[in-house]
Every structure is written in structure tokens, then in C-alpha cells.
Symmetry: C2
Subunit: 211 residues, 2 copies
């Protein structure tokens, strides 16, 4: 028999995700979650037995929403090299509030590490998923002659994933945008800048299909 | 008049640094610190008014010990390209316990961010110091023809600092060594492998001088 629920579980997860993202796991109390979500403690506990269970659900929400959006953006441009370039340059050009908040996965990786193996596995698999998507676009880029000679798409994808994490760390402590941009440009130097890049109809369709 | 102290302040700081490094700021209680350092609460408070003050002192200790050691290692080889290569390959080959613990600066950057501007500034300046040291060695490498054409030492140093942070994040959640090594190799591809590299007497002297 389905439980009756007087609140929107999607909105609850969104709020929980936001709260953990801003404050981290330890700094977030069940009280904070009750306040932020507007859902009574008893109702929260009726679905999530403890704070950790809601945290895991919040991480999964983040994977859908934020990682999903990243994957979509990687496919927004027909030119694979340009899609990868713009994605990474966009990291350094994000609104300041977004930069300061960092990434829930990065923050959780360093906060909790392997102390919670289930959470660590979720994070590793998100990293692996992003890396695969990057690697696929970089393989397309190589086939189109957009990569410097000898550059292996898989290795460059791995480097870029590492850079992504590093940017998330540095932006948390207010390292200047200009420096973040230079680091990204260093990593992108193996990708030749396209003469022209447009969001083509095919690119938009592809992005939509993946969203 | 100097306060009388019945304990070794260096050992206290070492223990405090280790505790914060393993557990983070939030997860470390004053009780934990009393237990770990063996110094009475009253004596701790006689020098450090609160947990944060001891944390800041622990971070400064880390800068001396760990960042100092990094700077020394960057100067251990006469060949600048080889010194940089070995330093970064060494990150991925560190003992597993060290990999899992990550870096106190990285962990603190994501845990606290700009909420504590003094701590954030300490972290930024440590990053800048490491980056300058890298940049200097990479400029030497360029002058010796050890860098690929067109590579700017400053930009490569910035990329490598970002990679360093990224490695620290990924190793916290148990990303395999092999993958860390590939990411590092991707970043090092602009440095030509030396035909031979030795810890020369001059290199050892330089490293000692900086230690």
C-alpha cells in the first residue's frame, strides 16, 4: 500500500540537495533540513530513516540534475572539440556564487572520503560517467583532426576530469577567475580552436535527446 | 613574562595537525584534541583560545612540514623537468594511507571555503607558493629545451597545481592509482622525458639548503 504523502518529494530532495551542497554533511542538522524543506520531522523520517539516507538521496538528485546538465552541455555543440572547450571555459566563467559553492561531489569526496563506501562509490561512478562522455567527444574530435598529434582521448579525458576537481577546490577558497581560466586553457591546449563553432540544430537535438 | 609550559608545543601542533588532517575541522572536537595530544584542556586553552586557533596553528604547521617537503622535493634533482615529473608521478605512487587521507589544504578548502577568510587566505597563499616554485623549475626546464614548443612555464605550473588538487580529491574516494597516474601523465606530456636523471650532489645540496 503506498504511503500517503502530503508534500512534493521532488521539491524536498531539491531542497535537501541544496542544503547539503551549501553546508556539507556534518554541518547540516536534521533541524536545518526540517526548516529548509518545510517538511515535518516525522514525515521526513517516514521516508528517510536518518540524515544519511536523505543525504544519499540528495547526492542521487545531484547526479540527475547537475551531472545530467554537464552531460547535456558536452553535447550541445556539433563540433566535439568546441563542446569540450566551452564546457571547461564555462567552469571558470560561472557566476561567483556558483564558483564559491563548488561541487557537491568534490566537497563530499574530501569531507567523507571512503568512510562511507556507498557514497564514495556513487561519486566514483559519477566521475567515471563524466569521463566516459568526455572521452567519447574527444575521440570524435580526434577523428575530425581537432586534437594535437599523439594525444589520446582517454588520457586527455582523465586529465580534464582531474582539472575539473581541482578547479572546484580552488574556486572554494576564492582563487581568481583569471587563474582558473589559465589552468583550463593549459589543459585544453591539446585541442585546436575551431575556426567557427555554432550551436547547430543537430547539436541542439542531441543535447535535448540526452537531457 | 613567558608562560610556563609543561609540554612540547611542537609535538602538540604535530598531533593537532594530524588529527585535523584525518578528521577535518568539524569532526574534530576539543575532546579529541585533548585525547590525542595528551595536553590538558586548561593548558590547551592557555595558548589557543578556541578550537579554531589551534586549527589555524595546525594549518601553519602543515605549511612548514608538508608544503616545505614538497618544495624540497621539487629541488631534489638537478634536471628541472625530471624533478617536476618525479614529484607528480610520486603523488600517484604514494602509500595508500597517504592517498586516502588527501591533503589538509584541499580538505579544508572544500570544507570551509571562504567562510573563514583567514584560513582561505592561508590556503591560497600556499597554493601560490607551490605554483611559483613549479613555475621557476619549469622556466629552467624551458631554458634547457625540456618543454614542448610554445609551452609557457607559468601556464603549465598553474595546470599542474590544479591537477594536484584534483588528484587529492579523487584519491579520497579511492579512484585507482592507475587512473591517477594517467591523469598526471597527461599533464606532464609537455615535459620531455630526460634521457637520464640522477640525484646529483648539487641537487641534494640544493634540496638540503631549502629544507
Amino acid at each position: 500500500m503506498p504511503r500517503s504523502r502530503e508534500f512534493d518529494e521532488g521539491a524536498l530532495l531539491e531542497d535537501a540537495m541544496e542544503t547539503f551542497w551549501r553546508q556539507g554533511f556534518d554541518r547540516t542538522s536534521v533541524e536545518n533540513l526540517v526548516e529548509r524543506t518545510g517538511v515535518h520531522r516525522a514525515s521526513l523520517y517516514s521516508i528517510y530513516p536518518d540524515k544519511r539516507a536523505l543525504f544519499v538521496a540528495g547526492i542521487k538528485r545531484y547526479l540527475d540534475v547537475v551531472v545530467g546538465d554537464n552531460l547535456r552541455r558536452l553535447n550541445e555543440y556539433d563540433s566535439p572539440g568546441e563542446a569540450v572547450r566551452r564546457f571547461f571555459l564555462g567552469l571558470a566563467d560561472a557566476p561567483i556564487e556558483r564558483l564559491r559553492r563548488g561541487c557537491l561531489l568534490t566537497n563530499t569526496a574530501t569531507e567523507i572520503g571512503l568512510e562511507d563506501p556507498e557514497v564514495a562509490a556513487l561519486i566514483r561512478s559519477a566521475f567515471a560517467r563524466m569521463e566516459r562522455a568526455l572521452s567519447e567527444r574527444l575521440a570524435e574530435a580526434r577523428d575530425l583532426g581537432q586534437l594535437a598529434a599523439g594525444v589520446q582521448p582517454r588520457v586527455l579525458a582523465r586529465l580534464l576530469m582531474t582539472v575539473l576537481q581541482g578547479i572546484r577546490v580552488m574556486s572554494r577558497v576564492g582563487v581568481e577567475r583569471k587563474l582558473l581560466r589559465e589552468a583550463v586553457n593549459g589543459a585544453l591546449s591539446a585541442i585546436r580552436p575551431a575556426a567557427s563553432a555554432r550551436r547547430t540544430a543537430a547539436g541542439r537535438r542531441r543535447a535535448k535527446h540526452l537531457a
